[in-house]
């Protein structure tokens, strides 16, 4: 049994608070039960000097220790100034109410801990409890912002001794939560500890300019500058589209012109630009399907108009608003009637739900998910499909943002039940699903040993679920398909499957939903899904 951690230890300078122990992380079914390597690579001595890893030996941000006591003091003061802004109705009207509620009304009952896949998978490491971040934040607020009397703080257990390392650990810890909000779902008090993770990230970003570079510099900043967080320019997009058209012709014998910047089209479809780079088959499948169904659609080449990601939703309100506005402006300039979001969970939540209270006037263009349209195409027989073409075991991953966070649960299931004879659910599924482990930006975060952590810890529960869903056909000789209608989740599956050697050991291919639909189209000569995609 692990050592029990006292909250005060969080502030103790020096030693690392927790270590992922291979003997304690939740076991996976065979052959994944044999742990052949340390789950997480150790940082080199030089890296440890440069970056604080005193939380758990893992680095997502890697803050550099201050050079002098003055620097430390300035750092702390700046953080505290930011913390005050979290409670200002001007600076934080966006989340003031849910944040205040959580901080004031959580009774620390720990029910949420048992719902958290990260905490459970880690072997119940105390630092990963959903309550740890809010507790540290609450103590900082009572001691340094509200400045409660010492006796009251002792009585209420809200006293804390702040130093640079506490904040460095807190910053890292905010990036050990996937924002899957499974914890919030079980809280009877209506508290949301996931939101607290986000709000801590926000103080670091909006006040201190600190965020993982994959989210900020190379993420939202790059998206606003060149058009996409992938770095892909509009000119590069056009080249990729030509490539995609050629690929479609090669695979299907059809010549399809992908509509780009078509003024007055009915629908602007925005994909996660990760698809263009990593999974062009998803774009191809969309183009084939929408063409066959006679949908009037277009892509855009305007800044942010061809990349549905909005990383701000995970760490920064202002960056969020900027991207949401640019995406809407792209649609406005094309004069489309509506925006539809492709297979990307966080883009769904960000673009359809969260942006809802940012976009006003003529920027408030109707936005919807592509899934109901896909459902209509499949279930109403707008194209001819042959389910026997998908006669292999298929299971479905529910992207948290699309399912638990916005209630799109049934359309993808109705499609799969129609076209995949061997479809089976994971347990639990739907709004109670487990996160892929790559939520809230983790799937794109490649810093040092962080990818190991997200495969070994935050994604482990999902890994277990996938293997269990296919437990009747465990070996690699039976090819199986994990349907993940989300680019971000696919990014996580790509890395996690590589980490565990899933293709070699189990023969599981991950991919989107639309690929399965196109694979079942009767008028395609060859199967669309190519198992070599792994």
């Amino acid at each position: 049994m692990k050592k029990e951690m006292k909250i005060d230890e969080f502030c103790r300078p020096g030693e690392q608070l927790a270590e992922i122990d291979p003997a304690e992380i939740i076991p996976l079914p065979p052959p994944y039960d044999r742990i052949e390597k340390a789950p997480i690579r150790k940082l080199a001595e030089e890296q440890r000097k440069r970056m604080d890893a005193s939380l758990d030996g893992v680095v997502a941000i890697g803050l550099t220790p201050p050079a002098s006591p003055e620097e430390e003091k300035a750092f702390i003061e700046k953080f505290l100034a930011g913390l005050e802004k979290l409670f200002s109705a001007d600076d934080n009207w966006t989340f003031l109410q849910p944040l205040t509620h959580t901080l004031e009304y959580c009774v620390k009952c720990q029910i949420c801990s048992d719902a958290c896949p990260t905490y459970l998978a880690s072997g119940r490491q105390d630092i990963y409890r959903p309550t740890m971040r809010p507790e540290i934040l609450r103590r900082i607020i009572h001691t340094y912002v509200k400045k409660d009397h010492l006796l009251l703080r002792k009585f209420q257990g809200s006293d804390i001794d702040l130093n640079w390392q506490t904040l460095a650990r807190l910053a890292e810890l905010a990036y050990r939560c996937t924002l899957c909000r499974r914890c919030a779902q079980v809280c009877l008090l209506g508290c949301d500890n996931a939101l607290v993770s986000r709000e801590i990230r926000k103080v670091f970003s909006q006040q201190m300019g600190i965020a993982p570079k994959e989210l900020h510099e190379k993420g939202s900043v790059q998206q606003l500058r060149v058009g996409s967080s992938t770095g892909m320019t509009p000119a590069a997009l056009k080249n990729i589209m030509e490539f995609v058209e050629e690929e479609i012709e090669e695979k299907t014998g059809r010549k399809i012109k992908i509509p780009v910047d078509k003024k007055g089209a009915d629908m602007l479809l925005i994909h996660n630009a990760g698809e263009f780079m990593a999974w062009p088959e998803n774009l191809e499948a969309f183009a084939i399907l929408l063409d066959a169904a006679g949908v009037d659609w277009t892509l855009s080449t305007e800044i942010a108009g061809y990349d549905s990601v909005n990383y701000g939703v995970w760490y920064d309100d202002i960056q969020f608003a900027r991207v949401a506005i640019r995406q809407s402006m792209a649609a406005k300039s094309l004069g489309v009637r509506k925006i539809s979001l492709g297979e990307c969970g966080h883009a769904h939540k960000a673009g359809i739900v969260v942006a809802d209270r940012v976009l006003t006037g003529d920027l408030n263009i109707p936005r919807e998910s592509i899934l109901p349209l896909l459902e209509e195409i499949v279930l109403r027989g707008r194209i001819k499909l042959d389910p026997s073409r998908n006669n292999f075991p298929v299971t479905l991953h529910d992207p948290c943002n699309m399912v638990r966070l916005m209630g799109i649960v049934a359309p993808q299931r109705r499609i799969l039940k129609q076209i995949c004879p061997q479809f089976r659910e994971m347990e639990p599924h739907g709004v109670e699903n487990y996160c892929c482990g790559g939520g809230s930006g983790f799937a794109i975060t490649q810093s040092t040993n962080f990818p190991d952590w997200r495969s070994a810890v935050s994604g482990r529960m999902k890994m277990k679920q996938i293997l269990t869903a296919f437990e009747d056909v465990p070996g690699p000789e039976v090819k199986k398909y994990l349907c993940a209608p989300c680019s971000n989740c696919k990014g996580q599956f790509r890395d996690m499957f590589e980490y565990y050697g899933v293709w070699e050991k189990s023969g599981i291919l991950y991919g989107g939903l639309v690929e399965l639909i196109v694979n079942a189209m009767t008028n395609l000569k060859k199967p669309f899904i190519q198992w070599e995609w792994h």
Partner: protein
């Protein structure tokens, strides 16, 4: 002493009502926030599996029926059953449940005593052998609610510190205030239990006390009952300093956060409110933010997010 009790009781009730009201109003007065809904949303048609109106094509053209009664019942139910605790930590529930039941029943008991006293003032005889059915019903209902309150509350406040120390997660987050509360609440319920069992098996004294309250005449009570009533009044005054407002705010959080799926439709009041909020100034100091400008300007101003500010 009887007069003191009357004054103290009025102060306690006025205090708790005023402070709870202020707290709830402060909660409600916070500005509208960004949508942060979480499914299942219980007023939704497909709440059973957690579906939303986004499952339809062009949802903005479709009706969005809301079953408000269902969501109200759902949110209230957990105030009583604490089902999530029963499912996830049964041992904790075993003590937490009576602790809350004690709380709910003791408040209910006093409210019922008030009505009983009004009825007595109007001439109703309340007792096991009252000539009126209403008098007998009142008697037994009061006996049950009071009895349950004292027994459950005492049991809960004895068990809570034990489970708080025995359960690893609860122990880590325990604070001295928790144990003070358990001890204090134990004296409140325990004194009630004792005076009921030893001195006042029919709970007559509470009716006398409430009759005294509404007629402003000092009641004659046993010392033990007096002690319990004084403790209960202090308990009422103390409650607003604890997290007890959560009985109300948790329901607000369900309605105004977790289940708030109201879309911002063009021309709506919500859209007007948001436009106002976007005009507020930001003072965030990150280099990618134009400090001092409005939200709308910060989100659209040229040169940002990359435009670095000169350090003063």
């Amino acid at each position: 002493m009887g007069t003191l009790i009357i004054v103290l009781t009025y102060i306690a009730y006025v205090f708790i009502v005023v402070v709870y009201t202020v707290k709830v109003l402060a909660w409600l007065r916070m500005p509208p926030h960004i949508r942060w809904d979480l499914y299942p949303v219980i007023h939704e048609e497909h709440y059973r599996y957690g579906g939303s109106y986004y499952e339809q094509q062009e949802w903005w053209k479709k009706p969005r029926p809301k079953n408000t009664w269902r969501s109200l019942l759902y949110s209230l139910k957990d105030n009583f059953t604490m089902g999530e605790y029963y499912e996830r930590n049964r041992l904790y529930w075993l003590f937490l449940f009576p602790w809350h039941i004690g709380f709910i029943f003791i408040i209910t008991f006093h409210i019922l005593c008030f009505f009983a006293a009004v009825a007595m003032y109007g001439g109703l005889d309340i007792g096991a052998v009252s000539a009126h059915l209403a008098g007998r019903v009142f008697y037994y209902v009061l006996l049950c609610t009071g009895g349950i309150a004292f027994i459950a509350g005492t049991f809960g406040s004895l068990g809570m510190p034990i489970i708080r120390l025995a359960d690893r997660g609860l122990r880590t987050y325990a604070m001295p205030m928790n144990f003070f509360n358990y001890l204090f609440f134990f004296t409140v319920y325990g004194s009630g239990l004792l005076s009921w069992l030893v001195l006042d098996p029919n709970l007559d004294e509470y009716r006398t006390y409430w009759l005294g309250l509404i007629t402003l005449t000092a009641p004659a009570l046993h010392t033990m009952t007096l002690i319990h009533i004084i403790l209960f009044d202090i308990f009422l005054i103390y409650l607003p300093f604890t997290r007890s407002t959560h009985y109300i705010t948790r329901i607000l959080a369900y309605y105004f956060i977790r289940w708030d799926d109201e879309p911002n439709l063009p021309g709506s009041d919500l859209e007007r409110q948001i436009a106002g909020l976007l005009g507020r100034k930001v003072s965030w100091e990150g280099n990618h933010i134009p400090t001092g400008k409005s939200w709308a300007e910060a989100a659209t101003e040229r040169g940002f997010p990359e435009g670095k500010k000169e350090k003063p």
